[in-house]
């Protein structure tokens, strides 16, 4: 168990590309932190800098208040689960798990005990003598986890560990990882581009964009209270509805549509109105009207899609409703939202205004 601190870390590649531009954060003992963001945003680079696989151009990384910038990866006492697992293909499952312990000079008996224990925890004790190519994707994933667990490291690092699994297995492993982390209480950093994974796993979530932290906090906090347009649109499935707008004569204007009830917004700049699909519901007095063009039935609930009427451009809206609400295709439907659920962003800076 350990605390991890990033102090204004930067990564500039020799070709001048800036992958991480000044990130700071403090991670508590036993916390599960998720870095989420689109591909190429620098999240993996940050993780690899913590691992020591990538040099730090500027700033420090501390583990347990000790700067580890120049400590070799093996001496940082961190363990990593890789996206493609990086199992040693010529070693058995046992060999894979034992390798790191052997290099640390542990006694054979001790290594055996630890490997058996970890294998039992991950339910891979039946495969200990198989080679990686005799295992299924899910089993390999468990071995990769096992290799990290036996080391009993201060910090777990996960680099998109579930992205090579099929959908069903991914959900199952997600739950297991969370349980395991709870049980062991090891500080963990987890990188993913999948917002569902991020939301469900994290104690705290850092949304990364262009080498910077857009916002960091508890998942639900980020969902309810995004500080930027980027966070609002990255977090949440289905995707938040975004309607281009302007503020004129104390009304929010979207094409021919004039929405009252908004105050203190700057005029003459382009705005974006954001409303989550969960907060729209059919109502004859609704402020927005759509022409339905698609209904997706997900089982417990339906997602209804349609083009926003009276707006100058083709804005598609989506709302979530119950199984029994099945509007006809091409029918017109009025949708209502509560004022408190409406968010307004500055389009050019992405800053949240309301």
């Amino acid at each position: 168990m350990a605390t991890v601190k990033l102090n204004n870390i930067k990564k500039v590649y020799p070709n001048g590309a800036e992958a991480v531009c000044g990130v700071s954060m403090a991670i508590e003992n036993g916390e599960f932190i998720v870095f989420v963001g689109p591909s190429g945003c620098g999240k993996s680079t940050m993780l690899r800098m913590v691992a020591g696989l990538e040099t730090i151009t500027k700033g420090d990384i501390e583990i347990d208040s000790k700067v580890i910038n120049n400590v070799s990866p093996a001496d940082r006492d961190v363990a990593m689960v890789f996206q493609n697992y990086a199992l040693y293909p010529h070693m058995t499952v046992r060999g894979n798990m034992a390798y790191g312990l052997k290099n640390r000079g542990l006694a054979k008996a001790e290594i055996n005990t630890k490997v058996n224990e970890a294998a039992k925890m991950l339910k891979i004790d039946d495969y200990l003598d198989r080679q990686p190519n005799q295992l299924s994707g899910g089993q390999r994933q468990r071995v990769a986890m096992g290799r990290a667990i036996v080391r009993e490291p201060k910090v777990f690092l996960f680099d998109e560990p579930l992205s090579n699994l099929d959908a069903k297995l991914r959900v199952q492993m997600r739950i297991e990882i969370k349980r395991l982390q709870r049980r062991m209480g090891v500080t963990s950093i987890y990188v993913t581009h999948d917002q569902t994974e991020a939301m469900t796993l994290a104690d705290r979530l850092a949304v990364i964009n262009d080498g910077r932290i857009e916002q960091m906090g508890a998942p639900i906090e980020l969902y309810n209270n995004p500080k930027t347009l980027f966070v609002a649109s990255f977090i949440g499935a289905p995707h938040i509805n975004l309607i281009p707008a302007r503020f004129e004569n104390k009304k929010l204007v979207c094409g021919n549509l004039k929405l009252p009830g908004f105050k203190n917004l700057p005029e003459d700049i382009e705005l974006v109105l954001g409303i989550r699909p969960d907060f729209l519901r059919p109502d004859t007095k609704g402020q927005l009207e759509i022409q339905v063009d698609l209904v997706e039935q997900h089982g417990a609930d339906n997602l209804v899609y349609g083009a926003l009427k009276n707006s100058s451009n083709d804005t598609e809206l989506c709302f979530k409703t119950t199984q029994n609400t099945l509007p006809d295709i091409d029918s017109n439907l009025k949708l209502k939202f509560e004022q408190k659920h409406a968010m307004v962003f500055n389009k050019s800076t992405g800053e949240r205004l309301i």
């Binding site: 691992a51 696989l53 493609n84 990086a86 390798y99 080391r151």
Partner: protein, 284 residues
């Protein structure tokens, strides 16, 4: 249906002609080698094996003056094996070490040293044959196994094979090993060598054949008969044949040809899959 049958038949016909074209000369060489010198002189080449097999091969392999004045066929076989195996093993070791340094280390002279290795592709033995001979002679290495093998093993081909192969190993493996505390040497021994097993086998096979088949270098390097390889011996027997004299011993020439052909062919046939894989990998 008729069309398809015709096509199938013509395919097999073409392949059969190909097989005959490729195999017949060797078969005839073998058959002829099992007849007596008189028969061959009287009747020419033979398509069917005769009764003189043991006699000829015993003389060629085990009798003094069987082929040449002093050297036995079996000695030449031994020399060929030493060259083939020494060349293959030496090449694998040298090139694997060099490729490891190039692919897995960041060091100052990496690029110029890589180019120096690359340069060897531009300098086939044939274009530097005379000065090479002078240097080896000057170092007193004529007629030694060291002088025979070592100058041949430094060319870039093996290094490129391994470099290509190492590059295809996922980066994460090194990362995982480093997190597991593996030193450069440990990583080489624990990871790369076991992972390269198939590759090593393939290169050993290819290089054994290449080494066994060396001609020009052993030809100028060996001055004493006892150091001849089979391939060089053939050249000598041919010269003896063309010099004439008494009854030309064609069957011995053919027998020695078969002996020089057999080991590399067997190796290739026996390890066919590895060999093909290794050869084709070099293209990438």
């Amino acid at each position: 249906m008729k069309n398809i049958n015709w096509r199938l038949a013509s395919n097999h016909l073409i392949l059969l002609i190909g097989v005959i074209f490729m195999s017949l000369p060797v078969w005839v060489a073998f058959s002829t080698s099992t007849h007596t010198a008189e028969t061959i002189l009287r009747e020419g080449l033979q398509f069917w094996p005769g009764s003189n097999f043991i006699e000829t091969y015993r003389e060629v392999m085990f009798e003094e003056a069987g082929v040449m004045k002093s050297v036995l066929g079996i000695t030449m076989l031994k020399n060929s094996l030493i060259l083939g195996i020494g060349f293959a093993v030496g090449k694998v070791i040298i090139s694997m070490l060099a490729a490891y340094a190039i692919v897995y280390f960041r060091f100052k002279l990496a690029t110029p040293l890589f180019w120096i290795i690359f340069l060897t592709l531009l300098l086939p033995l044939e274009v530097r044959i005379i000065p090479s001979y002078e240097i080896v002679a000057g170092l007193g290495l004529l007629d030694t196994n060291f002088g025979l093998i070592v100058p041949l093993i430094a060319s870039a081909t093996g290094t490129f094979y391994f470099r290509q192969f190492f590059k295809s190993i996922p980066d994460e493996l090194l990362e995982a090993a480093r997190l597991d505390g593996a030193s450069p040497w440990r990583f080489f021994v624990d990871m790369l060598i076991p992972l390269s097993k198939t590759m090593i086998a393939a290169i050993l096979i290819i290089m054994f054949v290449v080494g066994w088949n060396q001609y020009l270098w052993p030809l100028i390097m060996t001055t004493k008969e006892e150091n001849y390889t089979l391939v060089i011996g053939i050249k000598q027997i041919y010269q003896i044949l063309s010099e004439g004299g008494e009854l030309p011993q064609y069957q011995k020439a053919f027998a020695l040809t078969i002996m020089a052909t057999l080991p590399p062919v067997l190796v290739v046939l026996f390890f066919q899959n590895w060999f093909v894989k290794g050869l084709v990998e070099s293209e990438k």
